[in-house]
Symmetry: C2
Subunit: 112 residues, 2 copies
DNA sequence: CGTGTAAGGAATTCTGACACG
DNA sequence: CGTGTAAGGAATTCTGACACG
């Protein structure tokens, strides 16, 4: 499970390959980065590196652009999604801590 | 599930990135291809493209080489593994067909 | 705003070969 | 056998800019 995740998030794809995968021009891909829609990492020499996750986002961006959505609107949408995700992540982390505490009690491992 | 598969098998990583990922020199990576241990695909222009799966195999190769195993021995090992896998795949396919036939009967959808 | 293009340079990749062993 | 290296060329990628709209 951890493993599948790394394949999807690992930034190893060059812009040329991303261009083929998405059908977008390199110019477009770089521009979406300039507009803060996508965040590739850089290799030692400075070449952009993308993940499969980035590729999927670019395809999503392409679809929205076709519908006439502006880049700043797309950015807003992603921002909202991120806020929502973060809220859920926090929720789960708190649940995790509570669970850990109860399990501790069941095991009679409380300190005080 | 299909999806996770494609991330792992999709050949999109350039030799430079593979070199960083595996710690092997490009020379070594190309040589292992020459010895039929690894099978990258090629981009339009002829650049080698590797999958995460290929990267894992290269790491495995590197480990074996460190143990002093020769490339032709490594090739043999992979060949044996492949034969075994193919046998199991065939087995599963036959099972699948049988299951499909029985389900057909249960649905009363036989022709003759 | 979003995208194309020409520009010049730097890094990438490719192949075939020589080297050592 | 396995790997390093120098060689020369072709394709890749990068940035900043001008263009159109």
């Amino acid at each position: 499970m951890e493993n599948e995740w790394s394949y999807k998030e690992r930034k190893v794809i060059s812009i040329g390959a991303v261009s083929e995968l998405t059908g977008l021009s390199e110019r477009q891909i770089r521009y979406y980065e300039e507009r803060k829609l996508i965040f590739p990492s850089r290799s030692d020499r400075g070449n952009r590196k993308y993940s499969f996750s980035d590729v999927e986002r670019l395809i999503d961006i392409a679809n929205k652009r076709e519908e006439g959505v502006r880049t700043d609107e797309i950015r807003m949408e992603y921002k909202k999604e991120k806020v929502k995700e973060d809220r859920e992540t926090r929720k789960k982390m708190i649940q995790g801590q509570l669970n850990a505490r109860f399990m501790g009690q069941n095991n009679g491992k409380r300190f005080s």
